[in-house]
Subunit: 289 residues, 2 copies
């Protein structure tokens, strides 16, 4: 496995693979790899001849009051996991390598890829202004650098996944996006690098997210489709909790349009603050099982 820090080196390696007609898969991450990431990586190594994992805590997708500095950076441990999983390249550039230096990282001096407002102005985008601009921009850059045939993204960040699929379609990007199911711990908590911020107590409280989602899913499976009624079931669960709900929304899985009546194309999105940590989760009502 190669650990590469520069764009030039990663391009040279991939160019030689492409010459040999090999398929390349990319798993873009911010590191602090957990079993969720590993499921993406495993899917990638199964599907592609060569697997590139990018590890880059992308400054331009963090707001000024967010956790960019605090975000866990565990490159050594990540590299061990990747090696074991059969990854071919870890691409771990510095911010300087990705954005140059000498100017502020703003849309005054940097070309941005900006997703449609209708997709970015809701759910996480409401509180994380500019976040998805930063995500689309860095993913576009990574696609241009690595030129993968396939790129793997977790359904955990479902709004991101929907926005990236839209970006690929709108800009005719020659990459196939492969969505990967959420990985949960034994209690149902969706894995996230930010779970590291949770105390033992908060980790228990955080189960409210998946409780609400799976309860809605089972109500839906039992024939309840009225979104107001389904939402009420969530509120009744929340009433016994001290966490604060940021959003609970029913939206179309492709267009993010609001649903008043749930159907198999509906995603239920939830964000809750637990012990000061903002957690998100979602469930596809059309999912079987």
């Amino acid at each position: 496995m190669l650990l590469i820090h520069t764009i030039e080196d990663v391009r040279a390696q991939i160019k030689s693979w492409k010459k040999d007609g090999l398929t390349v898969g990319l798993v873009p991450t911010m590191g602090a790899l957990h079993a969720g990431h590993m499921s993406l990586i495993n899917k990638c190594t199964e599907r592609c001849d060569k697997t590139v994992v990018s590890i880059f805590v992308n400054p331009i997708q963090f707001g000024p009051s967010e956790d960019f500095d605090q975000y866990p950076r565990t490159l050594e441990a990540d590299a061990k996991l990747c090696k074991k999983a059969g990854v071919d390249i870890i691409f771990a550039p510095t911010p300087k390598e990705m954005y140059g230096e000498g100017h502020i990282l703003s849309n005054d001096f940097l070309t941005y890829v900006v997703p449609p407002f209708f997709y970015s102005n809701k759910l996480c985008g409401k509180t994380r202004v500019g976040h998805f601009d930063g995500v689309c921009t860095v993913v576009n850059k990574l696609f241009n650098i690595v030129q993968p045939n396939f790129a793997f993204f977790g359904e955990k960040d479902r709004q991101q996944l929907i926005i990236l699929k839209k970006m690929v379609k709108d800009l005719n990007i020659p990459v196939t996006i492969v969505p990967c199911p959420i990985v949960r711990d034994e209690n149902g908590l969706a894995l996230s690098s930010r779970n590291k911020y949770l105390s033992q107590k908060s980790k228990k409280d955080a189960l409210v997210l998946n409780k609400i989602l799976f309860n809605i899913k089972s109500c839906y499976d039992n024939g309840i489709t009225d979104v107001r009624a389904l939402t009420e079931t969530a509120y009744s669960i929340m009433n016994f909790q001290r966490q604060s709900l940021e959003y609970l929304e029913f939206r179309d899985q492709d267009t993010l349009e609001e649903k008043l009546t749930a159907d198999d194309n509906t995603i239920v999105f939830i964000a809750v603050k637990v012990g000061g940590v903002r957690l998100i989760d979602n469930i596809a009502l059309g999912m079987i099982g």
Copy 2:
């Protein structure tokens, strides 16, 4: 020569070329080809194994009060010129092929590539709000569809060229931009598809643009570097004309920063309305001859 209207067909053709290790050049145009375009096309056929000319009047780079409907469309004549010049593919998609249908072409529902404000908020961008967003978006799409090794752009649209070079750099796009010098008619008028809008009288009046630029250039070559003084020479020429000057600006050839003292990295940009038609031109003070 192939005349192709769909993304799928152009991709299939280019894929087979790439398999054979051939280099591909792209000349993006809006059609109504003139000797300026042909100089780009000739440079492309010289430099690349295969030449693709795209002809697409891109709706999203026109403002609501601009000349999208009126813009000359001369596909048959264009095709003859391309064939004669040795072009391999004309890619002429419909707006529907490029943007789909069923929604308004706005940043509410479409992913845009947005150049830095510092680059787009001046010169032509001041009056043509959103124009360069539309340009960057469509060029990005064309790059993703054609995946050329080289792309050829005229220095006539110098702000566009500088913005596209910045886009390629910022987004790590694996395409080399090749700038091509302005082609002028026997009187010095820079060729433009919009010259078709000019009456005989206006065509004469339009010579004020290159007169001003070449006069500034010769003053600069004679040692005058003070931008205020150089600007005065222009005003004295304008005084005898009825046209209205939209802008005359001295800016850096890479960063578009304003220059108070002219140097070899300075571009002089001019826009003038002549007989109701908005014309642009520019000159590089570092240019030899």
